[in-house]
């Protein structure tokens, strides 16, 4: 035996002896793996089938191919059904941002959503039943628990290995690894949720003759629901993080972009895919968050569906019958804040001067809306003249507000603000209680915002290469509408019966001023930053470069070089020129739109207004309120100018032409002013008719105290006695 002889030669204390006695664990495993892949191919395929099926048909065949706005719409609906309107709007907005990053990012975003959904769906299908079994049968938990413990100790990379061996590199194996990685918390939490249900409640169900199936569905699952929902949320987040890791084994999605960005040290790619990744994580987390109670639409629909045979029972359900909610004497109703007590009292009705101001605002708002359909640009395009060469000279043509070559996103912004003004005005006219935003200050905000947006379009200089451009009637109507609406809203703010909810502090509030100054600083930065980046070849083809190209063309024609190499040589020269001399347009440059300067002007005006609102100039309550609304209007305008510029260029753009970071910074300046104004105006509300209020709260009190009396032991006792006696 050679082992013995070599052992004789090497002393056992020598480390080399270890090589003589290696335990061939690695090769055993390898053999097993080989055997399995060779002989159990059918089994492996069967396991992979649901993943393959879902990925091929649902992810690649459906989600990725779906027009992007459809997916945004679907996700909006899902969020609306599962959660609420706010989350739905956030979801849609976040996805739109992901989409606007570019088609490549959008495709991977859609794919990521799909892969996550597949992984989570399969987790739910496997994990919840397993968790229920574990929760109800101790023996199952006895087996599962050590397995789950072991799974959670293993490093996430290790999960990838078996899947690579058995199913190869690709989305299928990666999704499986993701699923297995994300499964344990769901099983654990389901198990915990089932076990946490109080024993006596389960016994009660049994004692009243419920079969085990109903014990589960009537008691254990509903009471374990918060735990299970938390489990799903955890699973989702884990799947999300694992999918990023799984990119190294060929999972698609944003993880792949991030992985590539790491490899290529591509900052732009990393930033964009990272942003999309982050937004998506927030969105999915929000949608999957636990929400107990009957507040969301989905549970309302379920209840409605359950009671479809006897819909009258819904009348007794406060979720459906607002009457019941009104008389709700439940003391701990979180939706009724002490501050909102007056919500049930009536608000001061609209008087004659206020009505006139409101109607003026409506007229202005209507003009702002109408402007969308009128001509904004003649003979060329002001905005897309920058981004698309063909739009620089369009003699005899004119473009409406909604057209890409016309007002585009500036006109959209103006119209949106016009609609806002009209909504606020009509709402207050109809019910006199407009709420937080549908109010005079909201109307002023929107009117000023719209006016500044329209003016922003007016002051935008067309590209220097544009020929024969002139502004259209639509822009003038928009400005006129903005002026009328602003004047109306200004008057409205002055005459409306509004006041601060609590006395304003006599001293100067620092926050709005600080925010205003920060906004101005951002606007200055924006002015010196890039508003557009022109990398188009024809933007930088100087005569010398043209001469070089001509030389190559001539040589090719003469047959000195082949046409193939000649073509690539031309491309090389162009690309070199493009990267060497990119055309950067900053916010103040005369060959750019000049919007940086205007952003600064409007921001400064807003900051002054915010300072006034903060009490810096010793203004009265109403003027502070007005200042706040005006600061927010300026902020909205600045924000819409930035959005208008970026959006319009994105709508009609030659390749290699992009809007710059300056617009984004300008937008941030707008946000700052919005925040600054909001601090002040949030404290104002419409006055109330106190006589009514007192009456109302009185009757409220009496019903409450009568309800209290009946909860009182003595009272109930009497009631019991009498009913028992009868």
């Amino acid at each position: 035996m050679s082992l013995i002889s070599t052992a004789d030669q090497v002393p056992v204390t020598d480390n080399e002896v270890l090589d003589e006695f290696t335990i061939p664990f690695g090769s055993w495993t390898e053999e097993s793996v080989n055997w399995i892949t060779l002989n159990l191919e059918g089994l492996l395929d069967a396991i992979a089938w649901p993943f393959e099926f879902l990925i091929d048909n649902f992810v690649e065949g459906f989600l990725v191919d779906l027009p992007w706005l459809w997916l945004v719409g679907i996700m909006f609906l899902v969020a609306l059904l599962v959660r609420n309107f706010t989350v739905a709007v956030g979801t849609a907005a976040g996805l739109v941002v992901c989409g606007l990053l570019g088609n490549e990012y959008w495709e991977e975003t859609a794919r990521t959503i799909g892969l996550i959904l597949v992984a989570v769906l399969l987790c739910v299908i496997i994990g919840i039943p397993l968790g229920i079994l574990a929760g109800r049968i101790d023996a199952v938990w006895g087996v599962l628990r050590p397995t789950l413990d072991a799974m959670q100790v293993i490093h996430s990379f290790v999960y990838l290995l078996p899947f690579i061996y058995f199913w190869g590199v690709g989305a299928v194996g990666a999704t499986m690894a993701t699923m297995i990685f994300a499964l344990p918390p769901l099983i654990r939490l389901t198990n915990l949720g089932i076990r946490q249900v109080p024993e006596d409640v389960v016994e009660a169900a049994r004692a009243y003759g419920a079969p085990e199936r109903r014990v589960l569905t009537d008691v254990q699952l509903p009471l374990a629901r918060p735990a299970i929902m938390t489990g799903i949320n955890q699973t989702l987040l884990l799947a999300f993080s694992m999918l990023g890791v799984a990119a190294i084994m060929g999972a698609g999605g944003l993880g792949r972009l991030l992985f590539r960005a790491l490899g290529q040290q591509d900052v732009s790619l990393a930033a964009s895919s990272g942003l999309a990744f982050f937004i998506l994580a927030v969105i999915l987390d929000r949608i999957a968050q636990t929400e107990v109670g009957h507040t969301n639409l989905f549970s309302r629909i379920t209840t409605a569906w359950k009671s479809r045979r006897e819909p009258e029972v819904l009348l007794d359900d406060p979720a459906f019958n607002a009457e019941l909610r009104k008389g709700d004497t439940t003391p701990a109703d979180p939706t009724i804040d002490a501050d909102d007590e007056g919500a049930e009292g009536s608000r001061t009705p609209v008087g004659a001067p206020e009505r006139a101001a409101i109607i003026t605002s409506i007229v202005g708002g209507a003009l702002m809306v109408v402007s969308l359909f009128l001509t904004w640009a003649n003979d060329a395009s002001k905005l897309t003249g920058y981004s698309r060469r063909s739009d620089q000279e369009l003699p005899g043509e004119s473009f409406a507000g909604w057209a890409a070559e016309g007002g585009s996103w500036f006109a959209f912004g103006v119209t949106a603000m016009g609609i806002f003004v009209i909504l606020a005005a009509v709402r207050v006219l109809v019910s006199s209680a407009g709420g937080r935003w549908l109010s005079p200050d909201g109307a002023l905000l929107a009117a000023v915002g719209g006016l500044i947006t329209a003016v922003g379009y007016f002051v935008t200089s067309p590209s220097p290469l544009t020929v024969g451009y002139s502004d259209g009637i639509g822009m003038w109507v928009a400005i006129l509408g903005g002026v009328i609406a602003s004047a109306g809203a200004l008057r409205w703010v002055q005459v409306a019966p509004y006041g601060p909810r609590r006395p304003l502090k006599p001293k100067i509030v620092a926050a709005p001023i600080v925010l205003g100054i920060t906004g101005v600083i951002f606007a200055v930065v924006s002015m010196f930053s890039m508003w557009a980046l022109d990398e188009r070849a024809d933007a930088v083809i100087t005569p010398e470069i043209q001469a070089q190209i001509d030389e190559v063309v001539r040589a090719a024609a003469a047959g000195e070089i082949d046409s193939g190499p000649a073509g690539s040589e031309i491309l090389r020269i162009r690309a070199q020129a493009a990267t060497a001399e990119r055309l950067v347009v900053d916010g103040k440059s005369s060959d750019g739109p000049g919007l940086g300067i205007w952003t600064l002007i409007f921001s400064a005006a807003g900051a002054v207004a915010a300072a006034g609102a903060a009490g810096a100039f010793g203004l009265g309550d109403r003027r502070q309120w007005l200042g706040g609304a005006f600061a927010m209007g300026a902020g909205t305008g600045v924000l819409l100018i930035a959005v208008g510029w970026v959006g319009s260029l994105a709508r009609a753009s030659d390749p290699n032409f992009t809007s710059g970071v300056g617009a984004m910074i300008g937008g941030i300046a707008g946000f700052m002013l919005l925040a600054a104004g909001n601090i002040v105006i949030a404290g104002f509300e419409r006055s109330q008719v106190y006589g009514d209020l007192v009456l109302d709260s009185d009757s409220n009190q009496s019903t409450q105290s009568s309800a209290r009396a009946s909860t009182d032991p003595a009272g109930t006792d009497d009631a019991v006695r009498t009913t028992v006696a009868t």
């Binding site: 409640v201 016994e203 009660a204 029972v313 439940t330």
Partner: protein
């Protein structure tokens, strides 16, 4: 009266494979702790026998760990028994399985739990109607029955509330209504009022007894509070370490405790509320008003006093030992020694109600409805009766420790 529930020779042993050695040991009378030490099995019930008659309130009383909750759970087979029989209405409960058992549970009995065990995610009315819901009764009928049950406990206005919006007492009323909703013959009440504060508990007891008077259910009631057991129970069963110690009426338990263990419990009971005057009063032995003081004193003997009756047999005056001795010393006649400011009471009054009268030290005349003297109550006897149980316990302790 018809027997409703019968447990005979019931053993319950917790743990795997309890039917072998552990059961043999338990049947051989090996104490609980020894069985646990030898086999690792925990004994829940040892040879439990009792019968609950139709329409009575049968109370099982014991401290925690005495097996009372286990016992009640064998009646609706929330626990299976290791050995023995549980018969309800002539049917062997333990032999039932599956849908038979479920039908039996929902038709025959309602159960009320210590911590209410309401379904927190359902409204009060859906809680109450759960049994009917499981039976497949249509929503409309179910709600009608639930409202009827809720009206019994006075909670109709709260039908649409969630249980969490009610106070503890109200929640237990919902629990009671839930048990009553399907109109079962039997109510199983597991420490039903133990989690409530004393005032509410008393009120709930009254309510339950009022409902019982109206509906005539058979109630199997579990409690660890002897006061409660004696107050509401028609018969009381006391359990200790999984075995029955004594079964009897509240008076039996109080006056004739079977063991020192029971006596120890009884010690804490306010017996004045349970023991009636007729249990300790003595025969009247009236005094003839024409005798001398000396003869009167002889007539008294070791008694503290005797009453003089009128023609109808009503007490008119009383001679006490003290008065007799004082008057005879001064040489007065019997008429001088008689006093008329004595107290009276009925034979069914509890001792608690005559405490105040006994405080004066005078004998109390026990009279019937027409005012005739039926007994003589010596204040010393009241105090003695209260002290008797204590001495019983002392005796037991001597037995154990000496």
């Amino acid at each position: 009266m018809k027997e409703k529930i019968r447990l005979s020779g019931v053993y319950k042993i917790f743990g795997d494979q309890p039917r072998g050695r552990a059961l043999d040991l338990a049947k051989a009378g090996v104490p609980k702790d020894d069985v646990q030490a030898r086999t690792g099995h925990v004994i829940g019930l040892t040879d439990v026998n009792f019968t609950v008659r139709e329409g009575e309130i049968f109370v099982v009383m014991g401290l925690s760990g005495s097996g009372k909750s286990t016992a009640i759970r064998t009646v609706n087979q929330l626990h299976t028994v290791t050995d023995g029989e549980v018969i309800v209405d002539g049917e062997d409960v333990q032999a039932m399985t599956g849908s038979t058992l479920q039908a039996f549970r929902r038709e025959k009995m309602g159960m009320v739990f210590q911590h209410f065990a309401l379904f927190p995610h359902r409204s009060v009315i859906d809680n109450v109607g759960y049994g009917l819901n499981v039976q497949g009764v249509a929503k409309r009928e179910r709600d009608k029955a639930s409202l009827r049950a809720l009206s019994l406990v006075g909670l109709e206005p709260y039908a649409m509330n969630r249980p969490s919006e009610l106070s503890g007492g109200m929640q237990q009323r919902v629990g009671l209504a839930r048990a009553l909703a399907a109109d079962p013959d039997i109510l199983l009440m597991d420490e039903a009022f133990s989690a409530l504060d004393p005032l509410i508990r008393r009120q709930m007891q009254d309510e339950m007894m009022a409902i019982q008077a109206e509906l005539q259910k058979t109630i199997l009631f579990i409690t660890h509070d002897l006061n409660e057991a004696l107050r509401i129970g028609d018969r009381v069963c006391i359990m200790k370490d999984g075995a029955v110690v004594q079964i009897g009426t509240p008076e039996d338990i109080l006056t004739k405790p079977a063991t020192g263990y029971v006596a120890e419990f009884v010690q804490d009971v306010d017996q004045g509320r349970v023991i009636q005057v007729n249990e300790i009063m003595v025969e009247p032995r009236p005094l003839d008003a024409s005798v001398s003081v000396q003869e009167g004193l002889q007539h008294l003997g070791d008694r503290s006093g005797a009453f003089v009756l009128d023609a109808e047999g009503k007490p008119v005056s009383v001679l006490t030992t003290g008065d007799g001795i004082r008057v005879s010393g001064m040489g007065g006649s019997l008429a001088d020694a008689l006093r008329t400011d004595f107290e009276t009471c009925g034979p069914d009054d509890t001792l608690a109600s005559v405490y105040a009268a006994a405080g004066r030290g005078l004998p109390i005349a026990v009279i019937d409805d027409s005012g005739r003297l039926v007994g003589n109550l010596d204040p010393r006897h009241i105090m003695e009766e209260m002290g008797r149980v204590e001495s019983l316990i002392d005796g037991f302790e001597r037995e154990v420790f000496l």
